[in-house]
């Protein structure tokens, strides 16, 4: 992932990366915590394996979306925490907006049932 300051040039984000950014937007997390959160949010349908996880995390660090944190964990000091960067937050917001736009269009084309009370 090439390094850039413009979040829009990173779109569309891969679904997995987006999920990770959302998880980290709530809070700094370590590896297993990220996997668990994503599984919870997707209702168990997205299950990240460790082999894949760290590869994706490395790529996102390279792209400046997240960063590794210096944080001591009381439970297990081998855990490494990851946190979202400012760029990452902007990219996540941009992606969310893009997805929202897509959904809006889809609703307009009656691909999805309309949500009551929302334009």
């Amino acid at each position: 992932m090439p390094k850039t300051d413009d979040p829009l040039s990173l779109l569309p984000l891969r679904p997995l990366e987006f999920s990770i950014l959302v998880a980290l937007a709530e809070d700094d997390r370590y590896g297993y915590d990220i996997v668990k959160r994503i599984a919870e949010r997707s209702g168990g349908s997205v299950r990240l394996a460790p082999g894949n996880l760290y590869q994706v995390l490395d790529r996102m660090i390279e792209g400046g979306l997240i960063e590794a944190k210096r944080r001591r964990d009381r439970g297990d000091e081998r855990r490494r925490y990851y946190g979202i960067t400012a760029l990452g937050r902007r990219a996540a917001r941009a992606e969310a907006a893009r997805l929202d736009e897509l959904l809006h269009t889809a609703r307009g084309l009656e691909m999805l049932p309309p949500v009551r009370g929302r334009p």
Partner: protein
């Protein structure tokens, strides 16, 4: 700050699990380990605590499998990606989400496999053989060695022996005063005493017909040692350990049969061997005695706590098991036993002579001797599985030619090498799991056969599929998949695949390389097959030697069964003698019966009733110049020696003159004659055993006491004269002409005519009784031979495949040769020579492995050297012949090549 997964109460993973994590980490390349090693370990720990702790074995297996597969896949992919850094720029950057692509791979695999049902069938069958054999043997191993005994805290149960250094071996039985002393005063052990010297039966006569059941005499503390809880009632009290106590503990089975279920049994009466006993307790059906197996009635063992006579300190007839008390260790118990032995032998020198008490963990005592055999069998099936995997890998390589174009296309469209590898591996895993499933099915189906073949001491009960076995099969299947899938996967995704698009495949470099790879695999197969074949050959030879041990008796067409006269109705010795004499006469009059006899113990069933025997100077004076000889005592009735065709060497056997009023006489074996009287003629001389003086009237040939041919001195007594000494049940031997049907039923009728309440117990042919002694060796031999046969079959298929492929690849070359005048015999020699070379290389390579396996068999073999040249030569020759035979068809096909056709194309 939120935290995923509580650390609070969840236990840390065990040492084995932590070791697993380290192993999984090691699968990743060094660069990755340096960057993420620590946190990956932390990940595994978190996943373990979150998903596994407190859940069942199924969950454990699943999580371990998932993590392992992921580590293998990602580690492999990382290494591949690193290696082909060049040319990766155009590769797939947009990696799909992990889960979706995996499912896609599996779907693709299934689609492509369905198109080739023949290939799939062969692969699954081959794998099923390998995995099935492994599962079956592991099932036995699991039941015998890995499953703890079915008693609470069974690891604290021990067996107590006495070993007699003077005789040079372990003599298992202990004396009553020694055990009673240990039970009362020992601090480290709770002791349970039981009588297993002879397998005891009891006649129950309350039902519609008399029934003989297994009986066991035990001390009061015996059930407590095993923590056996009665369903109803209680177990024996110490004050009931007398010969007069008329109590009995029964099994649920007996309770249901005679008391109709429910609590009614306790307090009721059961007639056991003609004596009315009060039922005090009922034990559940799943209780099994560790030494005696399935028992139906327990009686109290008569024990005195004091007032023992001196000779009782030398009367070995009891067995003992113990439970370590809380805080005691085996070492402490052993020390205490040594102390007891020292003290007892000081006070009672007759019990000394270098005896030393041993404590052995009960599970090891029961099954330790089988451990070697089981491990050898496990190694053998592992080799078989290896051969199966090699065969399948070869099949994959063969199929690869058709694949090349498809894979090359994928590369051209942007698939990375690691992605391709993942694809091919998923196909391998699908096949491996399918093969594994069929294999487990095969193992289940053959489990009963296996149990019937197995020696009785293993106590196998047939199919029992527990989670550990399933987990093992799963692991084995996955490993196989990885094993046979990796090599082809690496081979097919080599750079330069796009060239394969242009290449016809068969004649180019790709084809040659594939041929070479398959040849290597065949060589490996043959080397492994040699190892198994040699092992089987050695066991076969050893078993043959065992069977040739001269038993000196007739075993063919001899029926045996036991008749026991209950004390209650046959207290008078004269009555017993008369009964047996009558029964022998009646049996002899049955049509088709050649000769009838009876004995207190059959030959070749071990040492039994061994009493100290000495020569005597007359009928009342012992010859103290000759030391005691331990001689087995037997009583015989009827034409015992003639029935078994035991040669009479000197003097005569018992006849009508040896009646009750006559002087007591004995017939002795050759070994007894030599031990007691040296080279002199024993006829007319005297001997004494356990206070009984006898005159020797005859010498018969030795008959082994074990299937391995061990000889012991034997003294035979006439039952008529011996009946007032002991009431030993007699085992009848009936020699028949083998062609008259229904003789067993006739025998039962004759018995019922004499006394309808007696039971004709445990009828078996003598050949089967003798055969029991070699059950363990037979088991190992049969199984190993099956594995060797399968291995040879697989190797044959392998070499055939390689040669057939080679012939098809060399068609143009062969055509040219023939056009240039080569004779068909020359072409055939070329092909057959190729096959012989491959087999030869495999054989030479396999020799080292064959030596190693053979050495591990040394504990199981009889009179065969593990470096027996004949066996190695025979195995090598067999494999060579097999290779030549497999070459025949391809060689013939080679000569059918039409030179004109091949040159034209």
């Amino acid at each position: 700050m939120s935290q995923a997964g509580g650390q609070g109460g969840a236990p840390a993973p065990s040492r084995i699990v932590r070791l697993l994590f380290s192993v999984l980490l090691r699968l990743q390349p060094r660069v990755f380990r340096e960057a993420h090693g620590e946190e990956l370990i932390a990940f595994y720990h978190d996943a373990w605590r979150d998903q596994v702790a407190g859940k069942g074995t199924r969950r454990v297996v699943r999580v371990v499998a998932e993590l392992t597969v992921d580590a293998l896949r990602s580690g492999l992919a990382r290494r591949m990606t690193r290696r082909d850094a060049v040319g990766q720029q155009g590769s797939d950057e947009r990696k799909e989400p992990f889960v979706e692509s995996w499912v896609q791979d599996v779907r693709w695999s299934l689609r492509s496999l369905v198109k080739r049902p023949g290939f799939v069938l062969i692969v699954i069958l081959t794998l099923a053989l390998g995995v099935g054999a492994n599962t079956a043997v592991f099932g036995v191993l699991n039941a015998v060695l890995l499953t703890p005994l079915p008693y609470p805290e069974s690891d604290r149960l021990v067996r107590i022996y006495q070993s007699d250094r003077a005789v040079g071996g372990a003599e298992s039985y202990l004396t009553q005063p020694a055990l009673v002393d240990l039970r009362a005063n020992g601090r480290t052990l709770d002791v349970g005493i039981l009588y297993t010297y002879r397998e005891e039966g009891a006649d129950l006569t309350q039902g519609a017909y008399p029934e003989r059941v297994r009986q066991l005499r035990v001390s009061a503390g015996y059930f407590d040692v095993l923590r056996a809880q009665p369903l109803w009632g209680r177990v024996f009290r110490q004050d009931e350990e007398t010969a007069d106590a008329r109590v009995v503990v029964i099994s649920r089975r007996i309770e249901a049969r005679y008391f109709g279920g429910g609590n009614a049994a306790v307090g009721g009466t059961l007639s056991v061997d003609g004596l009315a006993r009060t039922v005090v307790g009922v034990l559940p059906d799943d209780f099994e005695d560790p030494l005696a197996g399935v028992i139906d009635v327990w009686l109290p063992l008569p024990l005195r706590t004091s007032g023992h006579e001196e000779w009782e300190w030398d009367n070995h007839y009891l067995s003992a098991i113990g439970r370590l008390r809380p805080g005691s260790t085996r070492a402490a118990a052993q020390r205490e036993l040594d102390e007891f032995t020292r003290r007892q032998s000081e006070a009672h020198p007759v019990s000394a002579e270098g005896r030393m008490a041993l404590v052995v963990p009960l599970q090891e005592d029961l099954f330790g001797r089988s451990a070697t055999m089981l491990f050898v069998l496990m190694a053998a099936v592992a080799l078989l599985l290896l051969i199966a995997c090699v065969n399948v890998a070869s099949l994959f390589l063969a199929r690869g030619a058709a694949r090349n174009s498809e894979l090359a296309l994928r590369v051209a469209l942007g698939s990375s090498r690691s992605r391709l590898i993942r694809l091919l591996l998923s196909e391998s895993l699908v096949l491996a799991l399918a093969g594994g499933a069929v294999g487990v099915l095969l193992a289940l189906l053959t489990a009963d056969v296996l149990a019937s073949l197995a020696p009785a001491q293993l106590r196998l009960r047939g199919a029992a599929l527990d989670l550990r076995i399933l987990g093992f099969s799963l692991l084995v299947s996955l490993l196989s998949g990885m094993l046979f899938g990796t090599a082809p996967a690496l081979q097919f995704t080599r750079p330069g695949l796009s060239n394969a698009l242009r290449d016809g495949g068969r004649t180019g470099a790709a084809g040659r390389a594939e041929g070479r790879a398959r040849s290597v695999l065949v060589v490996v197969e043959f080397s492994l097959a040699l190892v198994l074949l040699t092992g089987a050959g050695i066991l076969l030879k050893s078993f043959d030697r065992l069977r040739q041990v001269p038993l000196n008796i007739r075993t063919h067409n001899v029926m045996t069964f036991e008749v026991h006269l209950p004390e209650a109705r046959y207290e008078d010795a004269g009555l017993r003698a008369q009964f047996h004499a009558s029964f022998v006469r009646r049996l002899g009059e049955m049509p088709g019966v050649r000769a009838v006899g009876a004995t207190s113990r059959l030959p070749v069933t071990g040492r039994y009733h061994s009493w100290g025997t000495r020569p005597a100077l007359s009928m009342n004076e012992v010859d103290r110049s000759v030391p005691f000889v331990s001689a087995d005592q037997r009583t015989v009735e009827g034409a015992y020696f003639e029935t078994l065709r035991m040669p009479l060497l000197r003097g005569r056997v018992f006849d009508a003159q040896d009646h009750v009023g006559a002087p007591p006489r004995a017939v002795i074996s050759e070994a007894a004659a030599t031990a007691l009287f040296g080279d002199g003629d024993p006829i007319g001389r005297y001997l004494v055993s356990a206070g009984q003086f006898r005159q020797v009237i005859g010498v018969v040939a030795d008959v082994p006491v074990t299937a391995r041919g061990d000889i012991a001195p034997i003294v035979y007594h006439s039952h008529t004269q011996f009946a007032d000494n002991r009431n030993w049940p007699l085992v009848y031997v009936v020699a028949t002409n083998g062609s008259t049907p229904g003789q067993l039923a006739s025998a039962r009728r004759e018995l019922a005519a004499l006394d309808p309440e007696l039971v004709l117990y445990d009828p078996r042919p003598l050949s089967e009784v003798v055969g029991r002694g070699v059950a363990q060796e037979r088991f190992a031999m049969v199984l190993l031979s099956c594995f060797a046969a399968l291995a040879v079959l697989l190797a044959t298929i392998g070499i055939y495949g390689v040669l057939a492929y080679s012939v098809s690849r060399r068609r143009p070359e062969i055509g040219i040769r023939m056009a240039l005048g080569a004779r068909t015999s020359g072409i055939q020699r070329m092909i057959v020579g190729q096959g012989a070379r491959l087999a030869g290389m495999g054989i030479i390579l396999g020799l080292a492995g064959a030596f190693a396996l053979a050495r591990s068999l040394s504990a199981l073999v009889f009179e065969v050297s593990t470096t027996d040249f004949g066996v190695y030569l025979a195995s090598a020759t067999l494999l060579l012949l097999v290779a030549l035979a497999a070459s025949a068809l391809p060689a013939f096909a080679a000569t059918r090549v039409n030179p004109v056709e091949t040159i034209r194309t």
